[in-house]
Every structure is written in C-alpha cells, then in structure tokens.
C-alpha cells in the first residue's frame, strides 16, 4: 500500500483528481448552458464582394481580427474572407483583386441561440476557426471564434467564483441578519469508533464553517486543533463512537463531545502530558502521543472533563471571543 506509485492512472503525467473532474464537468455544463449569442463578438466589421483585398487587409490590421463576413447590398451574408485568403492573394501579389475572388463561399454558420457546444463541434467538424452567427431571421449578428468561447467560459467560471464569494459574505453576516434575543448556530456530527480513515472530517467541516462565518484564521485554527484532538479521542477510545456538538454564538464557541463509554478511570493521569492508553493500532496511525487533552486545554479558555467508568465521557471546551473576534450582531456599528 505504502509503496504504490502515486499516479496509478497517470494521463499525460498527472492524475485527474476529483477537483479537476469537478472543474472539467463545470466547463462542460457551461458549454451547454451558454448560448452563442452570449459569447460571440457582436457589431462585427463586414466587407462587400467588390472591395479590394488591400482594403480588407487594412480593416483586419486595424481591427486586429482574423476574418470578416462578406455581405451583399441587401445585408445578406454571402461569404467569409479570412486572413488565410488574404495571404493567398498576397503570395500571388494580387492585392488589387476583389474580395469575391478569394473569399470562401462555403457558408457554415451557427445561430445565436445555439449552445456554445454546437459552435465547438462545428469548429472541429469543418476545421474552421470562426463562424458567422445568424439570428432567427437569418441576419448576421456577430462572429464567434475559439477565443470567444474560451473567454466566455472563463468569464462564466469567474462569475461562479464571485457567487461563492457572495455566499461566503452572506454567511459571515449570519448573526447580523437574524434578530433574536440570543442567536446561536449548532453543528452536530456523529463520529464512529475506530474509523481512522474518516477521522478529522468533522473537524475539518467545523474549521471551514468558522472561516465561512468570518472567524479569523487564528480562531479557526485554535478551534480546529481542539476539536480535532477531541474527535480523534472519540475514534480511538470509545466503544460506540460519540457525538460532537458545536454551538457558535457571537461572543463564544462552545464545543462538546459525548460518548457512552468506556469512560476514563483516572482523569488526573489522562491530563498528564505524555500519558496515553492508545492501542498499537492508534499509535501506528500517529496518535497516542499523550498530548491530546494537554493540547485542547492550551487552545481553549475552559475545559471540563466529566467521566464515569462504564458510563461515558463528556468533554466541554469553551472559547470566549475577544471583542475584536466576535461575530457581528444585528445593531452592531457597521465600522470594523
């Protein structure tokens, strides 16, 4: 197990992680959700079939674009002239030729209400780099390139990210937004005995929740370390697992673990640095330093350990928030 190669499914030298998979599937989703009309370039320049190539070259250069649609007198699209066509004309020293001689008559278009994925498929199917976009009436409304698609998807992802920021912002104002005489948020987790693999998961959720609520990194770390030690104790020592309950209030964080046994025979001893009853299995996992409760005590303002052998243990940890650390309540002055 320990000597497994790190990338069993290596593809191009690296594993596709869950996070990658999430991001890839989000991009896929977006390419279905986004419409061509949302990512295309509108108000595109166009040329007529009678114009000289030299004139088009100037338009391409000034607009820094790589192709233009060709319209007839009625405004209907009749072709497209790309930089490659211009290059062909230049090679033959034929810049005075009219557009009609070099333009591509093959008209491959997409509709502005097609999904972006349709455009992506059309790019690869016809090996083209740009597509004129037509509206329902068949009139030219814009041009879409691979660059437009990439930009459009990146912008949409960026918007997702802003929405996450907004959620975080809302969470951090939870206590301000709710009016009550006493608001508290309670998080509850059930912890299974001997489940080393998932050990720390609850603590990780708690730490993240605190950060989301706007706790300082130091406060989140302090609570995280204390509750992680307590969670590991439930996993290592209890017969049937236990429960973590975290009560978050504007002025304090109260964390409790309760279990149904076996209980601690000698609390005094349990609190001595370096003293441990951890099994060899737990020690192999890196626990059993005999520092757990000592660590917890260091991280919290108040620690209470109640235990009855044969009945169970209740560990209470309270952290009082300093005025500058408190979660803002309704009616607090806006100023930091």
């Amino acid at each position: 197990m320990m000597n497994n190669p790190p990338h069993p499914n290596a593809r191009r030298g690296r594993t596709v992680t869950d996070q990658d998979a999430r991001e890839i599937s989000r991009v896929e989703e977006l390419s279905y959700e986004l419409k061509v009309g949302e990512v295309m370039t509108a108000n595109v320049k166009s040329v007529t079939a009678e114009m000289k190539i030299a004139g088009v070259l100037e338009i391409l250069r000034q607009g820094r674009i790589s192709g233009v649609p060709v319209l007839d007198a009625g405004g209907e699209i009749i072709g497209i002239l790309s930089i490659e066509d211009v290059v062909r004309a230049m090679e033959r020293n034929h810049l005075t030729a009219p557009v009609s001689e070099y333009m591509s008559h093959r008209l491959i278009t997409v509709s502005d209400f097609d999904s972006v994925v349709k455009a992506i498929k059309t790019f690869s199917e016809y090996r083209v780099g740009r597509l004129p976009v037509l509206n329902e009436q068949g009139k030219l409304t814009g041009i879409i390139t691979k660059g437009d698609v990439t930009r459009g998807i990146l912008n949409a992802l960026q918007k997702d990210y802003k929405e996450e920021e907004l959620r975080r912002y809302r969470a951090s104002h939870l206590f301000e937004d709710i009016t009550s005489d006493r608001t508290s948020l309670i998080l509850r987790y059930e912890i299974a005995a001997k489940d080393y693999q998932r050990g720390g998961e609850a603590s990780s959720h708690i730490k993240r929740a605190l950060l989301r609520l706007g706790a300082s990194p130091q406060l989140a770390r302090q609570c995280g370390i204390a509750i992680y030690e307590a969670e590991i104790n439930l996993i290592i020592h209890t017969d049937n697992g236990g429960v973590i309950r975290v009560q978050i209030e504007p002025h304090r964080i109260l964390m409790q673990t309760t279990d149904t046994g076996p209980g601690i025979a000698n609390i005094e001893q349990a609190l001595t640095p370096g003293w441990s009853t951890a099994t060899q299995e737990a020690r192999n996992m890196g626990f059993g330093a005999g520092m757990g409760l000592v660590n917890i005590r260091r991280c919290v303002n108040r620690m209470e350990l109640d235990s009855t052998p044969g009945k169970g243990t209740k560990l209470t940890m309270e952290i009082l928030l300093r005025p500058e650390e408190r979660f803002r309540e309704e009616g607090d002055p806006e100023a930091e």
Binding site: Y196, E229, G286
Partner: protein, 122 residues
C-alpha cells in the same frame, strides 16, 4: 522561504501537481506523532514526517501547515494524496532521512517551530 525553494533543498518530488508552490514557509517541524505536531507547531510551517496516512493531511489542515515532506523516499497511499490535493497542501517525497532533512533546512535558514511541552505551571 517559498515551497518551491524548499523543494530544491530537500530534492523533493512533488506528489500534488496542482498544489501552490509560491507560499511562504516560515519554519519547520519534524514529528511522527500528530499530537506532537499540533502541540508545538506554529502556522505556516513545513512538516517533516515518516507517517504517510490521511491523518497527516488532516493535522496539516488544522495546524495551517504549508507543506508536508515525507522522509526516506516514502510515498503516501492515494487517499492521502487525494485529500492533500483537495485541501491544496503540497506533498513532497524526499530521498533523505529526517535527520539530514532537518539539517539541510536549518542550514538554509529555516527556524524550528517545535516548542517544548508545557506543564501545568506554564
């Protein structure tokens, strides 16, 4: 020093290709017992360890560890790498032992982030 620089000093192989390498590491801690790490470590440290299980990453996450270096060429199991990737914690595997790694990093100017055990009379 940055994680990138640390990687050169320990001649480490990066096991988490997406993890950020531009973060600042301010000190170091070498331990195989996770409570020892939690008891002493300051934020923004590098953790040198011989322990490869998933709890190393959990511990690192709780203690705001910036990078984990596995000693003596140890490679952690896939679930450890997966969690570290999700949590954005760089994992490095170094061919050197704990003693040599501490020496190399200390010589490069990295301070110890290990604190003595505090008894009740703290």
């Amino acid at each position: 020093m940055k994680v990138e620089q640390l990687m050169e000093i320990v001649e480490g192989t990066l096991l988490t290709p997406q993890a950020p390498l531009n973060r600042e590491v301010k000190g170091g801690c070498g331990a195989d017992l996770m409570s020892d790490v939690l008891a002493s470590i300051h934020p923004d440290a590098v953790l040198l360890t011989g322990l490869c299980n998933i709890q190393v990453v959990r511990t690192a996450q709780m203690a705001d560890v910036r990078a984990i270096v596995f000693v003596r060429g140890k490679t952690p199991p896939p679930e450890t790498i997966k969690l570290a990737t999700e949590e954005n914690i760089p994992l490095l595997s170094s061919p050197f032992g704990m003693f040599e790694l501490c020496g190399r990093l200390y010589q490069a100017g990295l301070h110890s982030f290990e604190a003595p055990v505090l008894h009740d009379d703290e």
